[in-house]
């Protein structure tokens, strides 16, 4: 397929602007992606024609909004191939999904002395909730380290598993290193010992097809805003057997069945985990984003982004002194690097002045930065609307940085 890059770029209005008198280059997609017209229009249309609180209402608008919301649940189910739509919970984002599991799964399944295994490459959102749960409940928190390519030490992980292990929680794709973890292999190994596995899919869903049944993960979490949908909407997929057993996370409207003076019974799945008025606007945007991705087809996106990554690695590798973090063969389309010993804040400041948006710092992964012994990195993360010409501009910026910070050294 000839990837329709020109047409795609026109569909993302934000890309067509000048930053410091230069065309914007947006390479901060791992933090948040931009939104196509189709998503922006869907939100506008929702507020102009369909806005209403959902469920409960019997009037026309409420029924229409409810239908749109519930149809989207079905669309999400199809998108990740969940067994049924009761397993799809709408949340604010990956962070809320992970906190929900840490709280509800923790209350039901984790006791003092039990062990959770996670990895050193986790985003804080899949690290801190578990760490804090463990500190509070006497559960033991174990962390798998990496090899020098930024891949998980699988043997170490396997050795950590014992009869005390009650959950393995890890990211699908590292937001810093880009490493795509062998989740299917890990899950299949863990399931031999009946250990459930949670996958943080925040950096996964936008870069590859995800089939939760084929992967056989027990939980999978992701955010809308990293997959071309609005902020404030996310998804928690969980196997029904766990979601049924776990207690609700937040209490209030929508999630109840009957309320009496002295007790309450809770609603069925998925509503049990969706207390209060949900983000219907976000759901409508998510629906449009998934339809957009489906139209482009994920295999085409994978192919195009693979080309961008290869081009970037080759191009930047040609610059003397560049140090990459994360050189796995199985990598999503991002590069994390330092230029010699130039501080990421210094590099990032100059890259910004060149009209290029990259992220610098610890990328919400401070344990990983400590492990790599760096104050932070510069991260350029690509989406399917980026081009090789934009990567050339990043290379020019890096060469300029070297000139400013290195050759003029006193």
């Amino acid at each position: 397929m000839n990837f329709p890059i020109d047409q795609i770029r026109q569909e993302f209005p934000i890309l067509d602007q000048q930053i410091y008198n230069q065309p914007l280059v947006y390479f901060d997609n791992a933090a948040s992606t931009q939104k196509p017209m189709q998503v922006i229009e869907a939100i506008k249309k929702y507020y102009e024609h369909d806005n209403c609180n959902i469920h409960r209402g019997i009037h026309y608008l409420s029924v229409k909004a409810t239908e749109g919301y519930e149809e989207t649940r079905q669309i999400v189910r199809d998108f990740i191939n969940a067994a049924n739509s009761r397993e799809i919970i709408f949340t604010k984002g990956t962070t809320e999904s992970l906190n929900l599991i840490a709280s509800s799964y923790g209350k039901r399944f984790l006791n003092s002395g039990d062990e959770i295994i996670t990895t050193i490459m986790e985003h804080h959102s899949n690290f801190v909730p578990w760490q804090q749960f463990c500190l509070e409940h006497g559960t033991i928190f174990r962390v798998v380290t990496l090899n020098d390519k930024g891949e998980l030490n699988l043997e170490e992980l396997k050795k950590m598993i014992s009869e005390k292990t009650k959950l393995i929680t890890l990211t699908h794709v590292s937001n810093v290193l880009g490493t795509i973890n062998p989740v299917k292999e890990i899950i299949s190994y863990a399931h031999r010992y009946d250990i459930p596995v949670l996958i943080d899919g925040a950096q996964g869903v936008s870069h590859m097809p995800v089939d939760v049944q084929d992967m056989d993960c027990d939980f999978y979490c992701f955010s809308g805003h990293k997959m071309y949908a609005p902020m404030g909407i996310g998804v928690l997929y969980g196997k029904e057997k766990f979601l049924e057993e776990m207690p609700p996370y937040q209490l209030g409207g929508e999630m109840i069945k009957d309320v009496y003076l002295d007790h309450t019974t809770f609603n069925e799945l998925p509503f049990k985990y969706e207390a209060g008025t949900p983000n219907v606007e976000g759901v409508m945007g998510l629906r449009a984003a998934i339809q957009y991705l489906n139209k482009l087809e994920m295999r085409n996106i994978v192919e195009y982004e693979k080309g961008l990554l290869e081009y970037a690695v080759n191009k930047l590798n040609g610059i003397e002194g560049i140090r990459f973090f994360g050189t796995s063969k199985n990598k999503a389309s991002l590069v994390s690097f330092l230029i010699g010993d130039i501080h990421p804040y210094d590099a990032g400041t100059i890259i910004d002045k060149m009209g290029i948006a990259v992220r610098t710092g610890h990328h919400c992964a401070m344990p990983l930065m400590d492990y790599l012994k760096v104050p932070g990195t510069v991260r350029a993360s690509f989406a399917f609307y980026n081009t090789v010409e934009e990567i050339d501009r990043l290379a020019e910026a890096i060469i300029l940085i070297k000139k400013i910070f290195q050759t003029r050294k006193t």
């Binding site: 210094d346 104050p375 400013i404 006193t410």
Partner: protein, 143 residues
């Protein structure tokens, strides 16, 4: 020279450059120029931790004046630290408390002082003013 006069001097030095690249090159030169704190003080006790870069700041009070020494792990941050020290070190607590530091805006580096930038600089200025307040209060207590 008063704070205002030094601010004007710095503004003049920067006004020679129209181009952002030249301005940043100057800041980088200022950042490379000297170690601005005794390495023995680059400890957690003196550290102001930003999300992006770190700053170390030490203050000494002598004969009614506060003398600052500082450093940063990022060179651009260090260059701006250098400017702040040039302006605020060797001043009385009152002068420091009242300094508005508007020159940063005039030389086009305001963005680096934004708290959301999280490079330690905005916290550093707060800390410098806090030192001034503490020394002033102590001195008045002794009178």
């Amino acid at each position: 020279m008063t704070i205002k006069e030094v601010e004007t001097q710095i503004t003049d030095e920067f006004s020679a450059f129209d181009d952002w690249l030249d301005k940043y090159t100057l800041i980088v030169e200022m950042g490379k120029s000297l170690p601005m704190i005794d390495p023995g003080f680059k400890t957690d006790q003196y550290m102001i931790s930003g999300c992006q870069s770190k700053v170390w700041l030490k203050a000494e009070y002598k004969n009614g004046q506060i003398f600052f020494t500082a450093d940063s792990d990022a060179i651009i941050t260090k260059g701006i630290v250098n400017l702040l020290i040039r302006i605020l070190s060797g001043r009385s607590p009152d002068e420091i408390i009242q300094a508005d530091l508007g020159f940063i805006d005039r030389i086009g580096l305001r963005e680096h002082l934004s708290p959301t930038r999280s490079n330690g600089l905005s916290s550093m200025i707060k800390q410098m003013k806090l030192y001034a307040l503490v020394f002033k209060t102590k001195e008045e207590g002794l009178k």
